[in-house]
Symmetry: C3
Subunit: 161 residues, 3 copies
């Protein structure tokens, strides 16, 4: 086999491995949100977002890491932490395209109560990501509660567009 | 190092990378079910199955993609969607063997109610897959509810056989 | 390209692929716990742990696979199985460093009741692993219930240390 053929075969493999590593990195970003917000670590939650990152839900529309951090420090969120909360995303479907990526999937918030646990919130999510100099960051997370309304199915349905 | 040694080393690596990509593809198939059925996308749900694919549960025994699509369009399922439902599989254990694969794991259905959410169904699953010309497809999903009966532990126990 | 350059490039790729395979192996270990304990397979549950492995929680402090197996055989656990239980970890964040690894994440136990399902326990976990001659094994699992107390956030917070 000549040098050019090796070169191409090795380069193809390097690209495939990088894509697999990107999947792992994006799962890590998604799965770091819970440990950040359930411990009240506003800086860690904010740092998951790009400088122009947006967190959009039925509850709020936050622009930039500082706004995300402020939400974590806010009384609504702090009362959830005091009860005992677990923000748990499900295993999403990730699509990577060069330096951008999208994930579609579910998330749940479990909340501790006097009687045990309630499933406090079940949502549909679309996460968008960009590869930056410091690794992947969230550029937008759109989150809508699943309650029979149209917003959540609209998000989930984007997987098939 | 001579050409043959390179050849072997590179081919071994290509096989390992393909196996990792197969894992990702199979997770994607499993995790696309929820977004399909919770949005009532009967075509997308059906397309996850091979032509001879079977969906077997306590509730039904469906043969072929058309039967899966009909279940999604049926009144039982449509009423679940109207309430607001989330079909969420857990992270399963996948075993790949060439062009066939098996996954063992849990799934849950959360259902929106007037009082919030109920965990409507928790099940054990065995998914079986085949690599086709269009990628991996489900050849069989066996799903049994976890209720203290023997069917669900029988499925989960196959992980250790 | 000369032989040394190829050698280095291929070796680098082999290391990256091994790291990805380690991730898969560690997920498999974590996700085998549920199928073992929910079917009462004490041997399979014990075999996930290294000889000196420790399972530490609010409920118990178990040293070694035999103690883990005895817990599975114990009346408390057997009554959970009779009701119908599902021990489901969430997708954790894994850090691998050579032949050791750590994972941080959530887990839940769903329990079947006369009225359907209850979320019986939601916990924070740190799993520690060692690569052995027989593959990865758990050297310690620390599990604390999420109830507003300090133990669970302490575990989750270690992701950012």
């Amino acid at each position: 086999m000549d040098d050019t053929a090796w070169q191409e075969r090795l380069a193809a493999l390097e690209n495939r491995v990088r894509q697999l590593e990107d999947e792992v990195a994006i799962h890590r970003l998604i799965n770091s949100w819970g440990p950040a917000v359930d411990t009240g670590n506003a800086e860690a939650a904010a740092a998951l977002f790009a400088e122009d990152g947006i967190l959009e839900s039925d509850l709020s529309y936050l622009i930039g890491p500082a706004a995300v951090g402020a939400m974590v420090r806010g009384e609504g969120h702090q009362s959830l932490i005091r009860d005992g909360s677990a923000h748990i995303p499900a295993f999403p479907v990730i699509q990577i395209s060069g330096d951008e990526a999208t994930a579609i999937g579910y998330s749940r918030v479990y909340r501790h109560t006097d009687d045990g646990y309630e499933v406090w919130r079940v949502s549909a999510n679309r996460w968008q990501f960009r590869r930056t100099g410091e690794g992947w960051r969230m550029t937008r997370r759109t989150n809508h509660v699943i309650d029979g309304g149209r917003a959540a199915p609209r998000i989930l349905g984007q997987l098939f567009e």
